[in-house]
């Protein structure tokens, strides 16, 4: 049964459908794995435990009665703590929401439940999704399964670590400036930020409303597509939700994997998202991937995006501005923490509660956003940032004239060590230099693993971007590249990750004196 946790969601769904395994068995295996590795990884803030097993048993009964709600029914899933769940605390990793159980489910969560997926728990993140390492979680960081002394990326480090450590086959994330794609890159997993408006934001605790997008986190491109198909599509509860029919992303992934060819695909290499400041091993793996794609028939073209270098500055004005407004709802009145020393006014209680409930990065960004929006500075900062947003969108439009998809390394470096950047906000912000342009323009992006950096043995990710509404291209191209790379490696990249939480074996033939752990 240990293999069970290594199955992809697609494999697990197939075996659930064939009756080879029950959802209770699958859910229990993942809960056991969580119990085994969580002391090291800390991907979860809440584990559903019995509630998950109860739901799994329900799904098994439905399936036995021929009423399985979807082919994915019974597959366990982890949910980023930024998404509201009516039966589990939803804190966005902040003290100000400690223990809060929302009165409703976020739409992507409701859709997963309706399809019969079994929520395993809530995953760790940087507080209110502000960060690139999970070091800003109020509940302690998540550790990278490849090297426990390193960050798993952020903000969605918990979801990425959970799938990479085989604690869940699939998970949900949210991506405001790279919070799905950057953790995927540094943990050797797959993550997709859909087109803005492609997945409902209803019930996603808002960071920056014009940038936030919910998306899938997985170990394979196909699994991401399967989840994308379930959570995507129009939702009247989100006014920015796109009203249109979407093709099946899973179908696009299957087609891409089966074809094994990129003939006729124009792949644009973004000149500005590579080069100086990028780690040597990241650059070499990226270059090899380009060769691989060219060998598969892709036409590789270099494209210029001269305004991308301004994107990060625009982002760190637009995001704090929107966040300072969104986070005004934590007022110690309607929900969340209230610190009341007595004989104080509502305003004083509000200020004390926010002082106690918010961590340092949240305070930094709220104050920065308040500054950027204040009278006398609005045009110089927020206004200019919005103009840069136009320029970034124009760069994308021009680039997509020359290419069907754009590619870059997903991150400038592999996973860094804890503490390396936590006290240097600007250094931390630079982690997002590759992923931010997609959020500013609303275009979809995917990160998938392309190998290990020779100098540190850590995963490297490739980012693929497509025009708005063309998410299927990511899956088509991503699945082809994934299939080509895995054929060459002989196994998925994650099979090379170190063993975790292995119990010390009983001494005997074939066992190693140190238990064989790394």
């Amino acid at each position: 049964m240990t293999d069970l946790i290594r199955w992809t969601a697609a494999e697990l769904a197939e075996r659930l459908g064939a009756g080879d395994v029950s959802s209770v068995e699958a859910t229990r295996a993942h809960l056991d794995r969580i119990a085994e590795v969580e002391p090291d990884v800390h991907a979860f803030l809440h584990v559903a435990g019995e509630a998950a097993l109860t739901r799994a048993a329900e799904i098994d009964r439905l399936r036995a009665a021929g009423e399985a709600p979807s082919p994915l029914a019974g597959v366990p899933v982890a949910i980023k703590d930024v998404l509201c769940t009516s039966d589990m605390p939803s804190t966005a990793a902040s003290r100000i929401l400690e223990g809060w159980i929302p009165p409703y489910d976020a739409t992507p969560v409701a859709r997963l439940r309706a399809a019969g997926l079994v929520p395993l728990g809530k995953t760790n993140m940087d507080e209110f999704a502000m960060g690139s390492s999970t070091e800003y979680s109020a509940y302690g960081p998540t550790h990278n399964p490849w090297d426990l002394s390193r960050i798993p990326g952020g903000s969605g480090g918990g979801s990425a670590a959970a799938v990479s450590a085989f604690e869940a086959p699939v998970a949900l994330g949210s991506d405001t400036g790279g919070s799905i794609r950057q953790p995927a890159a540094v943990t050797g997993s797959v993550g997709v930020k859909p087109t803005y408006g492609g997945v409902s934001r209803y019930g996603a605790i808002a960071l920056a409303s014009s940038l936030d997008q919910v998306g899938p986190v997985s170990r394979t491109v196909l699994d991401a597509g399967l989840i994308h198909d379930v959570i995507g599509g129009y939702d009247p509860n989100d006014a920015t939700s796109l009203q249109q029919a979407w093709p099946s992303m899973a179908e696009a992934a299957r087609r891409g994997a089966a074809e094994g060819s990129l003939a006729g695909v124009r792949v644009g290499v973004v000149k500005e998202l590579n080069g100086d400041g990028f780690q040597e091993g990241v650059r070499s793996r990226f270059a090899e991937s380009l060769e691989r794609m060219a060998a598969a028939g892709a036409e590789i073209v270099e494209v210029a995006a001269p305004h991308f270098e301004y994107a990060i500055s625009a982002y760190y004005l637009i995001l704090p501005a929107e966040a300072s407004s969104n986070l005004a709802k934590y007022d110690a009145v309607r929900f969340g923490l209230r610190v009341d020393p007595g004989r104080s006014t509502t305003e004083q209680v509000m200020a004390l509660s926010r002082e106690r409930g918010f961590g340092p990065e949240v305070k930094r960004r709220v104050i920065l956003g308040t500054y950027a929006l204040s009278a006398g500075y609005y045009d110089a900062y927020y206004g200019s940032a919005q103009q840069v947003r136009t320029l970034v969108q124009r760069d994308f439009a021009a680039a997509f004239e020359q290419a069907d998809v754009l590619v870059s390394p997903s991150t400038p470096t592999t996973a860094f060590r804890f503490g390396e950047k936590v006290d240097d906000p600007l250094a931390m912000y630079l982690n997002d230099v590759t992923t931010i342009p997609a959020n500013l323009a609303g275009v979809p992006g995917m990160s998938l693993p392309i190998g290990l950096a020779p100098e540190d043995g850590l995963p490297v990710g490739l980012q693929i971007m497509a025009p708005v509404r063309e998410d299927a291209r990511l899956y088509r191209v991503g699945a082809t590249l994934e299939a080509l790379l895995e054929a060459e490696w002989g196994a998925p990249l994650l099979s090379r990750a170190p063993e975790l939480g292995r119990p010390v074996p009983v001494p005997g033939f074939g066992t190693e004196p140190d238990g064989g752990t790394r």
Binding site: P103, G197, Y310, A351, L368, Q386, V388, L440
Partner: protein, 103 residues
């Protein structure tokens, strides 16, 4: 660059913290003033290309005003709305005094 480094003073941060309703400690205010100056110095870069001929974009995709049908929808019950309240009374949110003694 004395101008740039002095752009956000400790008094400014104190004022901003008041606007943002965060009772920052004196140490935090001093620390933040330093950090914010660094950050603002860096993000000021947007002004280099934000020339008057470039229109502003507030949203990734063009949207028109979105209205739903004027029908009663599935909404939360009063009990659900109050379920997370730090304090409540008679079906309402209960708050500390709105006005201080001097007000």
């Amino acid at each position: 660059m004395p101008d740039a480094s002095l752009e956000i003073t400790v008094a400014d941060v104190q004022h901003l913290a008041g606007l943002a309703r965060i009772a920052l400690e004196p140490g935090e205010i001093e620390h933040l003033a330093g950090e914010l100056n660094q950050i603002v110095d860096s993000v000021r870069k947007v002004q280099e290309v934000a020339t008057p001929d470039v229109p502003a974009t507030s949203h990734p995709l063009p949207l028109v005003n979105v209205l739903r049908a004027d029908e009663v929808g599935a909404v939360l019950t009063q009990q659900q709305v109050l379920s997370g309240a730090p304090d409540q009374q008679d079906g309402r949110f209960r708050v500390p005094a709105i006005l201080g003694e001097e007000q």
